[in-house]
């Protein structure tokens, strides 16, 4: 149960799909995406509360990852409006979204395998002069910034217990370390909101705790987090608010405790509604 400031922010919020939040930072409206005849995402309205941890749950194929892809413009939505911190993200190119402060990670970690861990980190720093072609050959123009970037990268690596790996190729890291690296790397870009796609999938339990501790710390620093997760213990343990998707739509949202007892959530996971539907229709 959330017993903190972030949890308290949800005090007056009704546990129903599409409910407005007191201080929403990510707002999605009428988001729709179909692949051929299959509707992958059809979200009427969804708001994410600032500086809170929101979990996005739902059975496989519910459209969680697709929604991440749509919101971050990695895929083009059929229709809909969505904005981050009051700024519309529709029609942006995928590389422009992180520059607004909305960072995402991937379900299958994208560690840049044949680059050292430290380079993975330094890459993510925003507004690097040395990345511009006209400046990159003139070392004095970016050397100072590069030193500052490296200092920050080393600090983050230390925080995520990866500093002893800094010179290794990212491809040599374990699955859990890659998840940590991806999270640390995302932080290099100084985001205000993180979209984490299954941050604990395939990670050993000890590292799961470490990852969750980091997520809590981030919330304490004021970061907004929306994360996809299948492990219900993780969801119940860490989130302030839970959103459940099924077949592309948001079917329920509320505090973790209310979600665990929500009938439509249980139906979505266990598929009882279909059995009931057959029963009802059977005799008629």
């Amino acid at each position: 149960m959330p017993s903190n400031a972030a949890g308290a922010a949800f005090a007056g919020v009704a546990p129903e799909p599409g409910v407005p939040k007191p201080d929403p930072v990510l707002v999605v409206d009428g988001l729709h995406k179909a692949f051929g005849g299959v509707v992958a995402v059809d979200v009427e309205h969804l708001e994410c509360q600032r500086s809170a941890i929101t979990a996005l749950i739902g059975p496989n194929g519910a459209g969680k990852t697709t929604m991440f892809n749509l919101v971050t413009d990695f895929e083009r939505a059929d229709r809909g409006r969505w904005s981050f911190d009051g700024r519309s993200l529709e029609g942006m190119l995928a590389y422009e979204v992180p520059r607004t402060g909305l960072m995402r990670t991937f379900q299958l970690t994208k560690a840049l395998a044949r680059m050292p861990v430290l380079d993975n980190m330094k890459l993510a720093a925003p507004d690097q002069r040395g990345e511009r072609l006209r400046d990159c050959l003139l070392r004095p123009r970016w050397a100072a910034q590069e030193r500052a970037v490296e200092k920050r990268a080393l600090g983050l690596l230390e925080r995520f217990n990866l500093d002893q790996m800094r010179a290794e190729y990212a491809g040599t890291l374990s699955g859990g370390q890659r998840k940590l690296l991806e999270m640390a790397r995302a932080l290099m870009a100084e985001p205000r909101m993180l979209l984490l796609d299954e941050p604990t999938a395939g990670v050993n339990p000890a590292l799961v705790h470490s990852i969750l501790d980091h997520v809590r710390e981030l919330r304490a620093d004021g970061m907004t987090i929306l994360f996809v997760e299948h492990d219900m213990d993780v969801v119940m343990g860490i989130s302030d608010w839970v959103v459940c998707m099924s077949e592309g739509a948001v079917i329920a949202e509320g505090p973790p405790a209310s979600i665990a007892e929500n009938d439509s959530v249980i139906d979505a996971y266990l598929g009882t509604s279909r059995i009931e539907a057959v029963d009802v229709e059977g005799p008629g």
Partner: protein, 317 residues
Amino acid sequence: MAIGPLAAAYALAGVGLNLQFGYTGLLNFGHVAFMLAGAYGTAITVNEGGPLWLGLLVGVAAAVVLGLIFGLPTLRLRADYLAIVTIAAAEVLRIVVAGPGEDSLTGGVFGIQRFADGFFDLNPFPTGDYGIGRVSFTARGMWVLTAAWLLVAVFTVVVALLTRSPWGRVVRAIREDEDAARSLGKNVFAVKLQSLVIGGSVGALAGMILAFDRQSVRPGFFLPVITFAVYTIVILGGPASRMGPIVGAIVYWFVIQFTEGFTREAIGAGWIPESILGPEDVGAIRFALVGLGLMLLMIFRPQGVLGKRQEVLIDAQ
């Protein structure tokens, strides 16, 4: 000649391709088109009465335009599309310059001669033979050789500086995973285009070296096989290694020269019966031997001569 103008030109082409393929991961299968653009750009300009410096400029500009034509429609798509477009476009370009008649701008299949005088006027070497033992060059040969290796040195340094900068970090990230680079706010498309155009321009300079060395350009010089010879060189030397293309080019030409000489002498001395291999087969057999060498290299040293073994091992995971 393993260090001759030809090796230098291929090394230079390799430096350009190494930036595109080795560092950025772009599958440019039409590198020879950049060489053609450079060679013809220069030859046509000088042939039409322009000065040499303008010819060089036009040659590079032609490669830049070609890079944009290749890149703009394809670089937003998956990597394979660039490969398809470049391999086809390179051949189209070659056929187009071969198309018109002898009196046209490109000289058709006969190509263009007499454009290299301006280049050789700059020759600082006095007439005579230069060399050690059996290896010797004319003064003209020395000049092409020197200019070519100088260019190789300059652009090896330029590419080294580029790839060691934060820009180079983005380039490597694109090779590893475009989506990751995008998710970190990098303009992947623009950087890929920059890499393609820079690498192509270096390829254009290599084409000019070939043109000056032969003092003529003809469509027949720019067959698709050249692209794959340059790939062989880059892979031999080790993709994404700074000195790789130089080592690759020298090894490549050494193997070709050596196998040719060796096979000829072996046939001459009767070690290989004429019924199996005649002197006319030597040209083909040397490429087969280069292929065999490349296969052995890939099996026993997949990272190339200078590449990093660990990078290859990670790749295999």
